[in-house]
């Protein structure tokens, strides 16, 4: 693989990187590989991507889709094939030096990552979002634009915290949740909680060996 940074994906994060390549590639070696859509990820051949090498890094830029499994699918395949990843922090974001970021994370412009925050692999934090002191985001999480994750709050793997959603301090959001209705949430949200303006009431998953979820309302 030739050196430099390869950005692979589609969607808003991908395009925002693609249009301002100079901002992200310190040595000017930034290549983009645009996929037609998230639906194309499963069957994407990725033949344009050079073989893995020690001096090159990949960033998978795929927006939230199917509880982040679309991004995870591509990230996981490339990781299994030996590619090395980078995390991308927009120059207009602020990340406290004590924060720990995993690989293939995106920290959008204006985002603020507070002290002692832990962010797992393949997690995206949108523009203007705040992840406050001591909060933790698991792997494969999405935090939307202008969302707030309160101090010491936690978000489980594959969960989506939508734009303008505000999680109170120490609130725990389980795994595989999707909170898309803007507002303040001060109570714990168990695994598989789905809150979306499209749904009037509770959304449940029954069976499949899963823990039953519940939603507000």
């Amino acid at each position: 693989m030739s050196g430099g940074l390869w950005v692979v994906g589609c969607g808003r994060i991908f395009e925002s990187i693609a249009v301002s390549q100079g901002v992200f590639a310190e040595d000017g070696m930034l290549h983009v590989l645009r996929l037609p859509s998230t639906d194309a990820i499963a069957n994407a051949g990725l033949t344009e991507l050079p073989a893995p090498s020690s001096d090159a890094r990949v960033f998978v830029a795929v927006d939230q889709s199917a509880l982040n499994y679309a991004r995870f699918d591509l990230y996981g395949r490339l990781r299994m094939n030996g590619y090395k990843f980078t995390t991308m922090v927009h120059p207009a974001a602020t990340v406290d030096p004590s924060a720990q970021l995993g690989e293939n994370c995106w920290i959008g412009p204006g985002a603020l990552i507070g002290p002692s925050v832990k962010i797992g692999h393949n997690t995206c934090v949108g523009a203007g979002a705040l992840v406050d002191f001591g909060a933790s985001l698991a792997a494969n999480v999405w935090v939307g634009a202008a969302a707030r994750v309160g101090a010491d709050a936690s978000v489980g793997t594959h969960s989506v915290i939508g734009a303008d959603v505000r999680l109170g301090n120490a609130v725990s959001v389980g795994r595989h949740c999707s909170i898309e209705t803007p507002g303040h949430y001060s109570q714990q949200l168990p695994d598989k909680t789905y809150i979306d303006p499209l749904f009037e009431g509770a959304v449940h998953i029954h069976g499949g060996g899963s823990q039953r979820g519940r939603a507000r309302g």
Binding site: A66, L198, G201, H206, G207, R212
Partner: protein, 383 residues
């Protein structure tokens, strides 16, 4: 032709009350999925025709009871579904498969029921039938076999498709501000998708009106002559429920999760089953997944819609299954909202002097059903 149904059929609460007694209660109604009732003590609760129901698994036997404790009328099960013995949370009365109290704590010490009073204690039980993974109940009326209401081939088709459902199911309830009949008329209308769903499902499935001249003539005959007796009424009733292959899909999307399920059939078609009076099944994915829509009339102007999604049976468990179901629910909700925005607009516009609907030949099925419905409502035949 002019519709037989005045606006009152959609808006009047007295009309709705008669409809419940004369139509819904005597008919077999879908109540829930057997996949949610697999294990001992699994239960679902629903409210059909105002009747609070619990369907409970007793060591593999499903029973439908009125969901009220015989002691102080507290609902026995309070969640929409779950796994819990049939026990009242107020004073601990427990019930067995026959609906009789199997345990009344401190009965001898403080209740002191007479022997005949004890023998009289039994929950109201309702007939229950299972077709594949679909559970039906009947609330009142004459003894009527399920096969009187549904054609045998249709029941076989329902069993076959519902047996393809996976146990993992996502569900939610929509509270719609419209009469249940508007929803059914819309489901029978193959002409609206090009206008209402032009930016969603119609992009890939070009629903077309089937101008079946034989069916049109039969429906017109029913609309003009009506039902002469109960036998002819039941024959007509059996023709109201049908389904299977509906329309070829323009393209068949391929998703990685498809490899993890046993596809129903092998055709890249849209499947559709309309089960009169309260169930609609469809597969917009060529048999990889299914929507199960349970319509529950609540009042003249309100219908609850319990929406379930299930994929076809899993070959093996896979990590993304809940995400797959959630995405189905999100996508399905967008299409359903396109329909229900219009249903609710129609309902809101109806008033006592509103003109009756004008039906074209392509709406022949609705015209025939209207006549059957009118005959049921005025007592020409009794279900």
């Amino acid at each position: 032709m002019r519709s037989r149904l005045p606006a009152a059929a959609y808006t009047d609460e007295n009309w709705f009350a008669r409809e419940r007694e004369l139509l819904f209660k005597p008919l077999w109604q879908f109540v829930g999925l057997r996949t949610m009732l697999r294990k001992h003590n699994d239960f679902i609760t629903r409210r059909l025709c105002g009747m609070p129901l619990v369907v409970q698994n007793f060591n593999g036997e499903l029973r439908a009871f009125e969901n009220l404790c015989l002691h102080r009328q507290k609902p026995l099960q309070t969640a929409s579904h779950g796994n819990r013995p049939l026990v009242c949370g107020y004073h601990g009365w427990g019930y067995d498969v026959a609906g009789t109290p199997s345990n009344i704590p401190f009965e001898r010490e403080i209740y002191r029921f007479a022997v005949d009073e004890l023998q009289d204690l039994k929950l109201r039980m309702f007939p229950l039938e299972i077709v594949g993974n679909l559970v039906f109940v009947k609330l009142s009326g004459q003894d009527m076999a399920l096969s009187e209401q549904f054609d045998g081939a249709f029941l076989d088709s329902l069993a076959e498709v519902s047996n393809a459902f996976d146990d993992e199911t996502i569900l939610t309830t929509l509270k719609l501000e419209c009469n249940w009949k508007l929803i059914y008329e819309n489901l029978r209308d193959a002409h609206h998708p090009r206008y209402v769903h032009s930016q969603s499902i119609y992009k890939n499935v070009k629903f077309a009106v089937a101008m079946d001249e034989h069916a049109i003539a039969a429906s017109k005959n029913l609309a003009e002559s009506g039902c002469l007796d109960r036998d002819s009424a039941m024959r007509a009733l059996r023709s109201f429920s049908n389904g299977g292959l509906n329309e070829a899909m323009g393209s068949m999307p391929s998703y990685s999760w498809h490899r993890n399920v046993e596809r129903f059939g092998s055709l890249d078609w849209y499947y559709n089953w309309l089960t009169f009076p309260n169930l609609h099944l469809a597969s917009g994915s060529g048999g990889y997944s299914f929507i199960i829509e349970h319509h529950v009339p609540v009042s003249a102007g309100r219908t609850d819609l319990i929406v379930h999604y299930a994929t076809a049976r899993k070959r093996n468990r896979y990590a993304t299954s809940s995400a797959v179901l959630y995405e189905h629910m999100l996508g399905g909700m967008r299409v359903l909202r396109e329909d229900f925005r219009i249903m609710e607009e129609i309902q809101a516009g109806l008033h006592a002097e509103a003109p009756a609907a004008r039906l074209g030949d392509f709406e022949h099925a609705s015209a025939g059903i209207e006549r059957w419905y009118a005959d049921a409502m005025d007592g020409t035949f009794k279900l």
